[in-house]
Amino acid sequence: MNEPKGRREFIKLLGFGGVVFASGLAGACTNILRKSGGQEDDFFFVQLSDTHWGFKGPPNPEAANTLRQAVQAVNALQQQPDFIVFTGDLTHTTDDEAERHKRMREFKAIVADLKAPVQRYMPGEHDASLDQGKAFQEHFGATHYSFDHKGIHFAVLDNVSDPQAAIGDAQLDWLLADLKRLSANAPIVVFTHRPLFDLAPQWDWATKDGSKAIDLLQHWRNVTVFYGHIHQEHHFRTGAIAHHAAQSLIFPLPAPLSQPKRVPVPWDPAHPRRGLGFREISVDESRLVLTLKEDSLEGAGTVQPAAAGGSY
């Protein structure tokens, strides 16, 4: 049974994919487990999403600053995460190939200031769909890959290099080969840009063959998916798999199908960074419980402006 979960509620579920949701100001408090006497073996990572470097337009007149504000906010955490993952749309799309490379270089220069020891990248359709991921691979490496960290297997799926939002059978075969060595109870985290399930196909919030990935992943009992694309926090379950969308770092979008058109939430000068933020994910010593904490950029410090291009 699929169950949407509201935000700002505390829910603890048995088994992996069990989460505690929390919200707060960036830097105002730290990870719940760390605050409440977590074990030394706990660790956490941070998800940043949809930074759209190069965007310029009314939905975020401060777009030239927002990425730097996010870097400062993450650096201000009392402890640094083991790693940071960017779940796509690092840059805003452009038809100009030279400009695309320029934006990717600028993005890398800004995030180079992150204190966390490791950053993991993956593309969104804005990064990869116009050239099938060519520029992204040149600057950031493979668009799908896996890695292990402290007892958890992480798999990064690319559902954007195909401009029609398909993962493709070749990548699905790779995923199966990557996972089949793991036991059915192994904790698995999947990073992807678009939702794997049909969140709102009417707004293009889906993956063409996402159901194939979900069918495959359901052979393992402890799978959690983190994604971006929809520019808002969202929680959903397909069977045993938990799916968590992150806020963006450029402009928020409305709740799925809550209005006729998928257009950005209007910028509010009284709350210029409302709806922007990032996520801390803590993993307990059992590796079977994740704690999610949503951090807002509201209240984060200001930085010096810099040039940005592009438009919505």
Binding site: L130, A165, P201, Q202, W203, D204, P256, S258, S311
Partner: protein, 117 residues
């Protein structure tokens, strides 16, 4: 899922088929052009039960024409005409969009089919 109240009749609202090149003489044909980043017309008005064939063409590059609530998912290739036959079976408003990422503004490339009694 929230906010679906303005879409009347979300599923199986029409009997659809990617039409063959043969179009019955009595069926209405509506030309729809796609270009970065819009469809023309963006609002397609149909009458309940009246068959229609949409003739989709592109003025620039490859685009998509997806109407999830009507199970329509077609590509629009340069130099080709894509025909979609619709027999509206339910009154309502059904969103369509380009599902082939085509650049900055792609997200705005959308429209709606409005089926009236």
């Amino acid at each position: 899922m929230r906010g679906l109240h303005w879409i009347l009749g979300a599923s199986l609202a029409a009997i659809l088929a990617a039409a063959s090149s043969e179009v019955a003489a009595q069926e209405k044909v509506i030309q729809v052009t796609a270009e970065k980043f819009k469809f023309t017309p963006a609002v397609i008005e149909l009458k309940l039960g009246e068959p229609v064939v949409l003739e989709l063409t592109t003025l620039d590059r490859k685009h998509g024409f997806q109407v999830p609530d009507l199970n329509v998912d077609e590509n629009i290739e340069p130099g080709k005409v894509t025909r979609v036959r619709i027999v509206p079976a339910k009154v309502g408003t059904f969103l369509f969009h380009c599902d082939v990422f085509c650049g900055s503004g792609h997200e705005e490339m959308a429209g709606e089919i409005v089926v009236k009694p």
